[in-house]
Symmetry: C2
Subunit: 198 residues, 2 copies
């Protein structure tokens, strides 16, 4: 039984995966956890495209690579540490597509208002990432391929009411993941009003 706080403190992005498959039982546990997130009016406007087919994963990886090279890389260069930039680089240029599973998480606009759909879908995405960590899977939250929404929509056969919001590669990590680095919460929290330090 994985300890809740231990899972939370261990979760971090994985961008290099072993080719070994991920079985349905393990994926089911992760997807089930995702659906226990809150949503406006409990309408549960999430839809998961669980992509294992190699050609489709390649197409998603290709969207990722295009967006990264068309501008995202230039934007991140100098903002990310050299180590992290290299890691994201390798992920965008192939690592993400090499994950044996890519989950595309969509918001169902027939069940949620487009203006606030993110508030009802990203909590589910976070449950998915945490549950992946709990069962030992590597994962990452990426939104890059969404800049090519129409290309992605075509490949996955998505109808108009499904809006892709997140792309999550899942697989067994190629190497152990280090601890995540975070700014202490006290530097991000105020008492009552802005300016009154925690």
């Amino acid at each position: 039984m994985p300890d809740f706080f231990e899972v939370v403190h261990r979760q971090r992005a994985c961008r290099a995966f072993r080719p070994d498959p991920v079985d349905d039982d393990t994926l089911g546990k992760v997807l089930d956890a995702a659906t226990f997130a809150p949503s406006a009016e409990n309408r549960q406007p999430w839809v998961f495209l669980v992509v294992r087919e190699a050609a489709l994963r390649g197409a998603i990886g290709e969207c990722n690579r295009k967006v990264w090279e068309a501008g995202a890389r230039a934007h991140s260069e100098g903002r990310l540490s050299p180590g992290l930039l290299r890691e994201v680089d390798e992920g965008a240029r192939g690592g993400v597509a090499e994950a044996p599973v890519i989950v595309v998480v969509c918001g169902d606009l027939e069940l949620g208002n487009a203006r606030v759909i993110e508030a009802s879908v990203f909590p589910a995405v976070q449950n998915l990432l945490l549950a992946a960590t709990a069962v030992g899977l590597g994962s990452a939250l990426t939104t890059l391929p969404l800049a090519l929404g129409d290309e992605l929509r075509g490949a996955l056969g998505l109808p108009g009411h499904l809006q892709p919001l997140a792309v999550v590669p899942l697989g067994w990590p190629r190497k152990p993941l280090g601890p995540p680095r975070r700014i202490p919460f006290a530097e991000k929290a105020f008492r009552d009003r802005y300016g009154a330090a925690w």
Copy 2:
């Protein structure tokens, strides 16, 4: 040590709280967990306004009540079960403001792009809700008061670059919370392409 999957399956909205205070250590544990969420470029664009002052909580509750009565209630009527509607009604008309702590979670637009800030803030909100569940606190994810963003912004002294995204009441539940109800994940998941059932 709370079990990860048990916490995930137990998390649900709480809208009626005991007046007992929540100490800093407990809140710190919850806020710390929130900051371990992922964000674009690990920029961590979250800011937490931790509101305990009664007058301020009243003002936030008042925003909630106004938005609810101005249209949200009418929108939800007939869509929610009578029991859930009554619960949300009581929350909007006083229960939320009675929580001893209200956390307003903002996105820092100096650290994240407004177009995708939700993807970097709602995972932290979900960590916060789960951690609250793990320590026994009741919580709820609400976005209603944000329809009155300027009023909220004024009361909390928020500068222009902080965009309020979620309002989370925290406190000890007045009564035990039942289990959350969810549609099974298999009805929300497809294999590879839309239409191919799980």
